[in-house]
């Protein structure tokens, strides 16, 4: 029994190590394959079961994002002006907003095929862009690019560019305006209000 447990533990450890070392495009491919398999086989997720979608997102997607860097990029010039506590709050609120708005999109998956373009990177690179194309019958392919950086805990996504629109930089205008009007705390308040109103909307829908 102990030997079995030890073997299992070792297996898990090895799997973890492999995941960390995987090339960035291999990692994105593996994650998308896994997530698509789960969505395809789970009727509740296809029907939009938010609790199940959240579990999936927490387990499979969030560990591969660097939300601190995403937030820093979105806040831009205002970031150095925030203190450590403000930074942490900004990261948490921004993460909540992104997860809330984009996780719902998982339930709209309809047999799209993800194609990977060849990765243009030198062996020593620590910052790469994984380029993919999402193909769907009867529609123009949509490019989705993942900007990724190498960290001690593996490759992490810090921006997603959909059809040429960067998710992170597109927030910069919004965030700059809030900081200009009400400082860093003004931005925190705006994000918190937004998240609260989205939560109450979701609550109203599920009732």
């Amino acid at each position: 029994m102990i030997r079995l447990l030890a073997a299992l533990c070792f297996g898990l450890f090895a799997a973890g190590a492999v995941a960390q070392d995987a090339a960035p495009d291999v990692l994105i491919k593996r994650i998308s394959d896994e997530v698509i398999d789960i969505i395809k086989s789970d009727k509740d997720i296809k029907a939009g079961d938010q609790a199940k979608i959240n579990t999936l997102v927490d387990a499979k997607l969030l560990p591969h994002f660097n939300f601190e860097r995403m937030t820093a990029l979105a806040v831009g010039r205002g970031w150095p002006r925030a203190n450590a506590a403000q930074k942490q709050t900004l990261v948490d609120e921004f993460r909540a907003l992104l997860v809330h708005t984009y996780s719902g999109a998982l339930s709209t998956y309809k047999n799209e095929v993800i194609e990977f373009k060849p990765l243009r990177a030198a062996p020593g690179d620590t910052d790469v862009t994984v380029r993919t194309q999402v193909k769907r019958s009867g529609a123009q392919p949509v490019g989705i690019d993942y900007a990724m950086e190498k960290t001690p805990s593996g490759w992490k996504v810090y921006d997603v560019v959909v059809a040429g629109v960067s998710l992170v930089t597109n927030y910069r205008d919004n965030f700059n305006a809030e900081i200009r009007d009400g400082g860093v705390d003004g931005l925190i308040k705006a994000l918190a209000n937004k998240n609260r109103s989205l939560e109450s909307q979701a609550g109203a829908k599920s009732k």
Binding site: P80, L97, L98, T101, Y102, G104, S137, A177
Partner: protein, 252 residues
Amino acid sequence: MNMQRFCFGFLLIGALGGVAGCATTGANPDDPLEGYNRAMFKFNDGLDKAIIAPVAKGYKAVLPEFARTGVGNFFSNLGDIWIGVNNVLQGKLDEGVSDFGRFAINTTAGILGLFDVASNAGLEKHNEDFGQTLGRWGVGSGAYVVLPILGPSNVRDGFSRLAVDWHGDPLWYIGNVPTRNELYGVRVIDARASVLDASRVAEEAALDYYSYVRGAYTQRRRSLVYDGSPPREPEPAEGPAAAAQPEESRKP
């Protein structure tokens, strides 16, 4: 035609009222018309919520997916000729030839364009218009402008859409005006129906929907001009590049 003129005059008055009513905040150097733009954006959004989006929702509910795909393909096929012309104007002859090939294949084997068989045969659909052609020729985008009904644009793309692209649209040459207008209407509703999910996500995601759409439009058009791989934008001085540095390195 009189009706069209009347509507346009009405919109123009509305637009001018918007300019007079709002002082520009001048926060974004690429959006000097922000006061007018916000008013027009609100007007368009109201129109969308009152009429266009509900009709699109109904259309989506009534028509099965394969039928909507057919409608989308039909209009997409008519668009391929003008896309091909613009590819040629930009010196991309291979792409242009491919676009004309798509039109020939889809019009015949694809039964008047209802089926996009050319994509399956490996001829990829492109996205081109005269605004992109001007961009390729080195014309800058100019200020951001929200057009009545047509929505987000800029000086270059708005001019191209209103003055040039119009003539590359096969529907424009249909002599029977009621038929033509019906086809315009279906095209608008079909296009709106295809982005219902996306527009809902964007509206939820944004702190300020107006500037979120402005940013997305500007980035999208820039990306299209460079066919998906635009050169890196110059970053503002103490901008994101500095912000992205690990915090430790900036501590005194």
